[in-house]
Amino acid sequence: MNFELFFYLLVFPGFLFTAILGLTVGWVDRKVSARFQYRVGPPFLQNFNDFFKLLGKETIVVKDSVKSMFVIAPFVSFAMLALVSTIIGTSLFFNISFGGDLIVIMYLLMIFSVMVVIGGSSTGNVYSSIGFGREIKLLLADELAFILVLLVPIIKSGYQINLENILTAQVNGMFINSASGIIAFIIGLLCIQAKMTLPPFQIPEAETEIVEGPFMEYSGPLLAFWKLNHFMMYVIFPFLLVLLFWGGFSFNGIDILWSVLKYLLIVVLMIIIKNTNPRVRIDTALSFFWKYATPLTLIAIVLAVFGY
């Protein structure tokens, strides 16, 4: 119970930093999307206004819902994401990590999807039910490819599961410069798109079809935390990709600019994929991940084993 631990978890790489950066990057997302559609887009503090507005609204706990699960789900998933951001952030900024933390990250990210499923299924709403069913199917689709993508840096760093060791293995050369690294990076970008349920794989919460799916019955602060979770993932996943494939961040002089550019490039790539692709069906998503993405990542793993 030392002070530093709470600082890491609550302030710098953890909750506060991730939330503020996430809401800001969420504005970048909305603004760039608006420019894609020849619109002006929202003002800078829009996501903060949305968040604080939702905090002050009435919370309706649905009468037919499983009340404990309905209330717990957004907060547990929020706690999971805060933990993940702390683990990734401490290894990126302070070089602090513990053995096997990549596996912990895999588990915690999966718990987030499970919490979406629990929150959606507890409401008893028909659209929420459809939404959480799709969330499970999407999880089945992208999880294998995502885990295989995470295996590539493990193999390339000489079978290290520790995030700090993966970072130090990239001092001589970033993994994205190799053939296996670039394949895994691209597949990882698409997996992130599915994990964040952004438009090509926006199947669980298709707004035009099944009105936000699992989040349909949420209102007030609970919805605010779901929205915050979504924006926090805009920080977590690009940071994870930068850490695993792009050699992390460095803060010496001009390198700060490169660090910011790396992060923004990944975010803008995600926004471009989001804005140029229509929503796919669930069977298309499954066949994409199982027929194309997973075999490609397997090829990347074989290449990584042989040192390419």
Partner: protein, 139 residues
Amino acid sequence: MSWYNKRLAKSIWVYHMSASPCNNCDIEILDLLTPKYDVERFGIKLVGSVRHADVILLSGVINQKVAPQVKKIYEQAAKPCFVVGVGTCPSSGCCFKDSYNTVGKREEVIPIDMYIPGCPPKPEAMIDGIVKLVGVLNG
């Protein structure tokens, strides 16, 4: 409280409820959300679920068939939630006011806070109405 009202004024999420309209106002509401008018610059967003809504855009004269549903949907909204009547129908009943199937007192079905008259109102008129609502919220 005024701090919260300012946040609310800057992020109005709109739910579009049609209570037996002639569809003319609905088309104009959809025009409002197109790139030309772009209400997202005021933080206005169209949401699909009434649980997320801050403003319900009500179009149409309410007839007896939909009145219970309208009431139910309003009760499901998370408060504070404002109701804006779009078009002449919610305000005066338009040419349907003597019809056999419209409800007599619309105020008893759903408390309408603001009216935007016009048959149909132009998107500019709707933006003006929303801006006036924002002005009330800002005090």
